[in-house]
């Protein structure tokens, strides 16, 4: 065991300070990291209860980043790194990094504005441009959406600040607007009655606010109605599926025609037949001969 004693003596004598430093660093990391996690989780839980899930996530991340920086400074201090010089160098590097990180900084600042403005929360269904999704998380640099087909989308906070954002589930009830066209021959009063009756019978359609039935326009091909039904925000699909079918079935039962777009051509008089002229080309004759070689070709022009 002489060799062991020699090692210890060597370490103690020459590297005592380094061993102490290493032990302190290990202690800082072993105690600091779990403690930091615990503190940030507790703070996030309290913030979530008092404010919102969004705030809880941000508090946890802020505490985490700050805590790790403090731990890093403590470790560097133990290693004897002179922080003043490091900060001085960081200041110069910061200018260079600042130019390179403009977008990231902009995203962080936009994230702070989003935090204070609260246009949406985690769990809301939002539309950003053409992208529709449920807010999965709101982070410092970006927000994450889960699309309805379960795709993951990351949108930078800067984009959110600059773009029109529609929060579909912000309010508890919504109105579903359906454009309906009926043929010109139909009785407008009867159509309104039928639509009102359908709304009253559909269990997902709210009695109040009163459904909107508006005779909107004399369209090109139809009498145009706006049918606005109020519903509780979670009943969108149930109402959409049921009411569209009910409208079609009821219109069929009542004999109300839903026309498709059409054009009527007049040649100057609505009552005279539309004149046409048939032209029998050589190609037509050849085709007829091919189809029926025995029959003689006839001149079909008039």
């Amino acid at each position: 065991m002489e060799w062991f004693d020699k090692i210890i003596q060597g370490l103690s004598a020459e590297n005592g300070q380094m061993v102490n430093s290493i032990l302190r660093i290990v202690a800082i990391l072993v105690l600091g990291i779990p403690l930091l996690h615990l503190l940030s989780l507790l703070a996030a839980k309290l913030t979530k209860k008092r404010f919102s899930e969004h705030s809880g996530i941000l508090v946890r991340k802020l505490l985490g980043y700050t805590g790790y920086i403090i731990l890093l400074i403590m470790v560097l201090n133990q290693l004897g790194v002179k922080l003043a010089a490091l900060l001085g160098a960081a200041g110069i590097a910061g200018i260079a990094i600042g130019f390179a990180a403009q977008t990231s900084v902009s995203n962080v600042i936009s994230g702070i504005f989003l935090l204070s403005e609260k246009p949406f929360q985690v769990g809301d269904l939002i539309k950003v441009g053409e992208t529709l999704g449920v807010v999965h998380s709101i982070d410092l640099l970006s927000i994450k959406l889960r699309k309805l087909d379960n795709l993951f989308i990351r949108i930078p906070n800067e984009t959110i600040i600059k773009t029109e954002v529609t929060n579909i589930t912000r309010f508890p009830i919504r109105r579903m607007d359906i454009d309906i066209g009926v043929a010109y021959k139909e009785d407008v009063g009867k159509v309104k009655e039928v639509l009102a009756d359908l709304a009253s019978k559909n269990p997902y359609c709210l009695d109040e606010p009163v459904p909107l039935i508006l005779f909107k326009n004399f369209g090109n091909s139809a009498l145009e109605f706006l049918y606005g039904l109020w519903f509780f925000k979670t009943d969108y699909l149930a109402l959409r599926n049921s009411i569209m079918q009910e409208i079609k079935e009821r219109f069929d039962a009542e004999g109300i025609e839903i026309p498709f777009p059409h054009r009527t051509l007049y040649t100057g008089s609505a009552t005279d037949p539309f004149p046409i002229r048939l032209v029998d080309t050589d190609a037509d004759k050849a085709l007829r001969k091919q189809a029926d070689p025995d029959s003689s070709s006839s001149n079909a022009s008039q």
């Binding site: 508890p172 269990p203 109040e208 509780f232």
Partner: protein, 262 residues
Amino acid sequence: MAAFWDAVEINEGDCRLWQAGPLRLWVRQVGEEWHVATESANEKEKFPDIISGETTAVPEDAQWQRWMGRGVEHVVQLSPLMPDRAVVVRPEMPLHMAYGQKEMFFVNIPLWIRVVAGKGKKITICEQASQTLSNTWFGLPVQGELCYALNTKARTGIEEIAPNPLTAVCPLVISNLYKEPLNFERLCIRTDHLSIYETENGLITNEVRVIYQGEEQMSRIKYGKKPPALAEGSKRVADPRKPIENNLIRKSFNNFMQSFEA
């Protein structure tokens, strides 16, 4: 009518039928399971007869639901329950009350049914609405509450209401202490604060008293803790879903929505 809510013994394989108003409900006992099926009458129609737990053949096209109930005695009982949401009651024609007027109205509220199995050890099998009520919104589009909608004649005499085992009459006393007439088109009744009492003529809830003091002031609302005077001494058959909050002060009679919250 009291027999509708009585406990019924049910043997293995038996099928029992309860029928009243727009609802038919079957219960059968199979092994350690309880099977429940329901059928609703077409809109505006009702089943003509009241049937209270009679043995019947198993209906062929019923949509059964299974409930596990191991170790429970073969006894089943229906009990009445208030709806699980507030009910917005709309008088068939708008009501107006002059200053100083006080009036009692009777509103017929469709009940829910709780199916309970067992005698000593009881289990709740299911809760079922006796009638499908339409949804409505009480409040502003940005903030409010999802409720059921109910049209009522808002009768002033309880004898005008035909007895029905699946509805409970709610006595509503409204006093207008404001210097201008009270015009309202709808009332929101928080049915989860109502108890149900059994009388000879049917089910009745505790009284709800509302004192209207104008749109700018809060209306005072009180829920009675005892049976109403015209049902004194009656037996309570259902507790409120939620405890009654004293000094429940809420803004009432919103002109825009013409809503009154009880």
